[in-house]
Symmetry: C2
Subunit: 225 residues, 2 copies
DNA sequence: CCAAAAGTGTTCCGTCTACACCCATGG
DNA sequence: CCATGGGTGTAGACGGAACACTTTTGG
């Protein structure tokens, strides 16, 4: 049975994680300087090799966990990147994943521990290998998704103000949004619930805090922002 | 330098081709019965292993060429499929690609030569491994793309009638379209050119043949159908 | 002469967009 | 008392959807 495979070649397989965050009204991505060869010192995504006994999705989850200590994070595959020379050392095909996390959940200790930092998506340096391309593609996919699926809440704290939500959409889509029209649309989605709580940090007057109610969403899933 | 890689495992990598065609007002896909183990006799996509000296895209192009003899075909990556047990023989990660071809360009000899046939997308049998899932995902991607990019013409002959084009959109989107509204939209896209030629096969009266003009499209690329 | 597909405009309705002012509070 | 962000409604424009009849011609 294995004779069918025998004549073929095996290849190194890795995963790379594009970890998006939203902070100070900017979209950010976690990158660090490579601490190993090849490419030591270059800016790079965080990644890891795929093991023989784990699926690609599991490898991505494990890699994200190593870096962030988080589980059950929203992650989606971006695609496989397979130029012959993409890795300067060996032939390595890499499958990219993007993850959405709430920056506040990421401890500063981990930043220094792994030598990574949040960098503004619009001010990215040149990255190792094809990582810039991976990020571009991930961003495009995320932009599409965020219009019709409630993934924005993954980037926000559990309780958020409508202005925060609006700013998020503004930076993702790269254009300003009319406040009244935006709130009108939000009001039609019952799964974006107003709570009794008020956020006093963002303004003198205070802003109502909202939350995403998944139970309601699962019954009536039409989302459009 | 290679010590960094040494401890990691290499994995078999394959590509699988989802070849879409449009015929008799139906969307079709090319599948065949496997002529090798594992899975001999099961319905399957056509695929092949990735070589160490070719990119993923090149491997997909080569595999498609083996099957169809065609080059420069519209192909896009669907994604990487990497469950541990997806291949019953060995650990194999596969990258799926979808291709759009004009059924008329595919000779009947090749069908029998490779033991493949055109099967209606809505009447697919159970396929080998995760191939049904690959096709589902490919179809979804293609559905999205065809709304905003002029890929429909890859599925049609160089000269086509507006009714053909409309039927194609109807089967892709799974719903009927109003003829007058459809033609109004077509008329606004200058790169869908009316020719002097008339197709007499499809009707007594005869229908004007149109063609896609890429040069004009490249200057003014807004497509919406 | 009739069946079968080609071809052609207008009206209506709902959705999206533009737009400006008052409120509450901390300092 | 004023600067700052929070919060609210309406009218007009635009684009999409609905809709029916005439034409041509092979058999």
């Amino acid at each position: 049975m294995t004779s069918f495979y025998f004549e073929h070649q095996k290849i190194f397989l890795s995963v790379d994680c594009i970890i998006f965050g939203f902070d100070a009204n900017k979209l950010k991505v976690l990158i660090g300087k490579r601490q190993m060869d090849p490419g030591r010192g270059e800016w790079s995504l965080y990644g890891g090799f795929v093991r023989n006994d784990e699926s690609l999705d599991d490898a991505a989850d494990r890699t994200l966990y190593e870096l962030t200590g988080m589980r059950n994070v929203y992650m989606r595959q971006v695609g496989a990147f397979g130029s012959v020379d993409r890795d300067p050392g060996e032939r390595v095909v890499s499958v990219a994943y993007y993850a959405l996390i709430n920056v506040k959940d990421y401890s500063k200790k981990l930043l220094t521990l792994h030598g990574v930092e949040w960098v503004d998506l619009d001010e990215l340096p040149q990255l190792y290998s094809d990582h810039n391309e991976m990020i571009r593609k991930a961003r495009k996919l995320m932009q599409q998704k965020i219009k019709t699926e409630p993934i924005s809440f993954q980037l926000l704290p559990p309780l958020f103000t409508l202005t925060q939500l609006q700013r998020l959409y503004e930076v993702v889509n790269g254009e300003e949004v009319d406040k009244r029209n935006f709130r009108k649309r939000v009001k039609e989605m019952d799964f974006i619930e107003k709570t009794e709580l008020i956020d006093k940090k963002s303004s003198r007057r205070g802003a109502s805090l909202y939350r995403f109610n998944k139970k309601i969403y699962d019954k009536d899933s039409n989302f459009k922002l």
